[in-house]
Symmetry: C2
């Protein structure tokens, strides 16, 4: 399984995701909200590009069947039923309803995931369940970080890294450079998710706007097994990707037997050569699971190469950045 | 001092760097080669966009005064005097010469650094010297990673993180999310630079093309105090940013007294709450140097905000990606 992380929307621009599994991530707050809405029993969420599109689509539904939700500038849009706070999406509000959701970056990533062979939505609140679901798809995996107004977002990269870390611990994954970096960040923050309240620019901004409770709600890990999946332009509650009975912890839960890969040995709790001071996230170790030194695997196309083969001008996802050149020189 | 890292060329697109210090990084191999050439006594390096531009510029010099250097596809360009291997740039070959250098990604980042208030070139081989030089400029700092054919490159992010880590340890720096992430990667790889031989896609590719000696040469840290600086479209050997006498280690060497900032307390060797297993890179700690909880500093514009104010369509550096939208909603 090849694994890539698009750290920003521009990184994902031009990727053709046919045949891949793609996972959209916008921890603060769009994908956390989608997970909450699905867990609360909504029928579907339809991502739309702006408030005008939401109103046009809403007119096609009967009254009471649909809710308009979203934000601009971190605040609810006038006339909309809901904002973009996961705390608003309770069973009382959303059960049995269709939700039209517009947020700037999260929407683009979710629509991008819809162009893949299989697409789903991840947040910290369901990240381990999504990792199990992604393994079960038996496809190469791309994680699409929504970012912060087009730029790198720490909390999205951490979520992507936790997801990839689970996947790479369970099967013979080949990681791109960005996936290696995300794994390092994910493993570092795994035991200190709360630090993101201060380390993430957008978390600080949301708290400054009075949304501290939302930030706290979004920075919880694995509170649900709900995996929202993307189908035909809408996001629907997927089958719960429960852990197999009698197992605990992501490494035991995840399996890649479905794709016939060789299970990698469980990495040691601490690298033998590492001092306690330097025993932190081991992205290189993860990579070596896929690239043992001198392995025949390293002779063939590398993950980025394969992605480059799939690049075309004017790709389906992103903010219009040019796709990478086919010229491998630098 | 605000500090930002552009992890890819697209991330840097549209940034206006007037008044900032900008540092170009392309560890494998362009900026390592530039550092080697300057340390070997060349007069200047002129980055040019392609081999045709190199030949046009070369015609303006007298024979023997200029060397054409560069690569396409990792190999020397026919008719050129030198490739892009730092090992070729010996005093015997380059002393007293002007070098016209063309490489795809490294060239763009170096020209981008030239648009800043002060620009320089960093590699692992001179990263601590560049950190001291950057502190001495007394300006906000942007590190421009060249990336791997437009995508995220692990070794460039690690180099940027080592640079920012030194800077943030020496003064009251405000870090963007990408800078926090780079610091985490830099601190993780600081004690295992050699792991990048296998963790970096481009390192593996270069080794596969027979350039293992180049990779080894590029993955050495702090072998010179040479800081190449960008002036009027050319890169010239700068004054050596030597460590003050009687000091050792980056934290003691670096100083931000020149900008009147408050020196942050030296972080503890290990966070009190951290188990040995989780005592790795502490990006959150670094951020807190700049953002103590409840500090008045957190009330004002944050680093990304300031960068966004400086964004305009069609910026000077990058691969043509659209600049981030001014709409802060997501």
């Amino acid at each position: 399984m090849r694994v890539h992380v698009a750290l920003t929307p521009a990184d994902a621009s031009g990727l053709i995701l046919d045949g891949w599994t793609a996972i959209a991530v916008d921890v603060l707050r769009a994908t956390t909200t989608v997970v909450a809405a699905c867990a609360a029993g909504c029928v579907r969420i339809i991502p739309v590009t702006d408030s005008g599109a939401a109103r046009e689509r809403a007119a096609l539904f009967t009254a009471g069947e649909v809710l308009m939700a979203g934000e601009r500038g971190g605040e609810t849009i006038p006339g909309f039923h809901l904002g973009n706070s996961p705390l608003e999406f309770t069973p009382e509000r959303v059960r049995g309803r269709t939700i039209l959701l517009t947020t700037t970056n999260g929407t683009a990533a979710m629509l991008g995931a819809g162009s893949a062979g299989a697409g789903a939505v991840a947040a910290l609140t369901n990240v381990s369940a999504v990792a199990r679901w992604a393994l079960a798809q038996g496809r190469d995996l791309a994680v699409l970080c929504s970012g912060d107004d087009g730029s790198f977002s720490l909390e999205d990269a951490v979520c992507a890294g936790l997801l990839v870390s689970d996947v790479a611990s369970a099967c013979d994954a080949e990681l791109s450079d960005a996936a290696v970096a995300a794994v390092g960040l994910g493993r570092y923050y795994a035991t200190r998710i709360g630090d993101l309240r201060h380390a993430s620019r957008w978390a600080r901004r949301l708290a400054g706007k009075g949304h501290s409770a939302d930030v706290d709600a979004c920075l919880r890990r694995d509170v649900t097994d709900m995996v929202p999946v993307v189908e035909a332009g809408a996001i629907v509650p997927g089958p719960a990707a429960s852990a197999p009975p009698g197992t605990t912890g992501p490494r035991q839960k995840a399996s890649c037997d479905v794709i016939g890969a060789v299970r990698a040995p469980t990495p040691p709790a601490q690298a033998p050569e590492g001092s306690p001071r330097t025993a932190g996230p081991p992205p290189g170790d993860v990579l070596r699971l896929g690239f043992p030194e001198g392995s025949p695997r390293t002779a063939g196309p590398q993950p980025r190469d394969v992605l480059r083969l799939a690049v075309r001008p004017g790709g389906r996802f992103g903010r219009g950045a040019r796709p990478p050149s086919g010229d491998p020189s630098r």
